[in-house]
Amino acid sequence: MKLQNLKYLLAGIILTGFVSCNDDDDNTPVTIVPVPAPTEIDFSGTFAQQDQMGRAAINTVLGGTSADKNEFNVTIPSEMVDRFQPDFLNKAVALHAAFGAEYETNILGLDAQTLTTVLASDVLQVAPSVPTTYFDGTNVLTGRNLSDDVVDVSLILLFGGTSGDRFNGQTPETPILVTDNVSAGTGATGTTTFPYLVSPQ
């Protein structure tokens, strides 16, 4: 998948340093309709985090040692940048060095420092008012559909360089790093009715 059009779309976007305005949307209040909990069922207790996820593959690719990956899974998002961004940066540099290259500013105009800062906070942005997608040619990181190729998007942002196509087997010595060349499988096609995930195979 290619993101050549993305750079034109985002040419005017200025990264604000990831400090969001507290700009509460004006949603009409709607309250949940609770039902009584069955008295014979025990829902009590304290539950301690074992795993978490925002965006696919981030911890996998950019995480450090096994101990680091374990620690990532029990770190709250607001603390992730401070703790893990330096490690993510080192890993992004090292991954390029392993192929005899240096990181090149990517198609969104992000240098390695900025990219790893964005990725270190492992949360998925979801938008109520625009189409939800990882990337559909227009919208960027507004959600994640079953069919979104998150692997290719992530590889392009990490290895694609300015063109988005930097390592794509252009010569016999150039590895393919911007795509795994796998398209959506049966489970990713989804259905149009709830629960949208496809029956087991």
Binding site: K69, K91, F99, Q125, V126, A127
Partner: protein, 234 residues
């Protein structure tokens, strides 16, 4: 994407023996393959109603063998409304006797690694689905709920990935493509095709999800920051 066979900097990129990992599928060693292993997370606009958002958390890939929800594991969707990356609202799901119980969305005051369940926020329960037929419930408040076995939506040439990064040889390690990278299209394969996961899916009217904040990447779009956690009873 660690290495070519030359392993120039293996020391700096040590992933650890046995750390077979893909996209949080077969996750970090401490959680991978356990009943608290989150394999994937999706959030998207409902195809049935543009004013609703669907949250889907997948746990326990069939590649790891396990196939039942664990009554000690709480699945929790977290929603940050003001952009500080601290959750303001949660949706919780926990199984009891073959049914999945859903709570929320509701605002919380205690945030972080530990959670409790507010029973007054119970919105419904649904029989856990084990086969092709999906049991679903639509609650009085317009929330739709499902839990059970589904085809894994994830797709990735995992075996080539393990070879590219130089993971130890194992059942999911293959060979690299040209020049140590991924395969060409003719040779790529997807080991997740034909596999299943346990899914927890909830569709929620957007009005229940609270306020939004500006996208941290500066795109000008209003968003919720969201993530999913798996927590075990202490």
């Amino acid at each position: 994407m660690k290495k070519l066979p030359k392993i120039l900097i293996a020391g700096a990129l040590a992933l650890g023996v046995g750390a077979i990992i893909a996209a949080d599928h077969l996750d970090a060693p401490a959680v991978g393959g356990t009943s608290a292993d989150i394999t994937d997370y999706f959030a998207f606009e409902s195809a049935e109603n543009a004013n609703n958002t669907v949250f889907a958390a997948n746990v326990q890939s069939s590649l790891a063998g396990a196939a039942e929800f664990d009554e000690n594991v709480l699945i929790e969707f977290n929603i940050d409304n003001d952009g500080d990356l601290v959750e303001d609202r949660v949706i919780q799901a926990i199984p009891r006797d073959g049914k999945m119980y859903f709570f929320g969305p509701y605002e919380i005051t205690t945030t972080g690694l530990n959670s409790t369940i507010d029973e007054t926020a119970l919105i419904g329960s649904v029989d856990i689905s084990t086969g092709a037929d999906a049991n679903t419930i639509t609650t009085a408040g317009g929330i739709k709920i499902f839990a059970g076995l589904r085809a894994d939506p994830f797709y990735f040439d995992f075996t080539t990935f393990n070879a590219v990064v130089g993971n130890p040889a194992g059942p999911f390690t293959g060979t690299t493509g040209p020049a140590g990278g991924f395969q060409t299209a003719e040779n790529a394969s997807d080991p997740f095709e034909g596999t299943n996961v346990l899914s927890v899916v909830i569709e929620v009217p957007n009005g229940l999800l609270g306020g939004t904040s500006a996208h941290p990447a500066g795109t000008g779009v209003q968003i919720w920051n969201t993530w999913v956690e798996a927590k075990t009873k202490q």
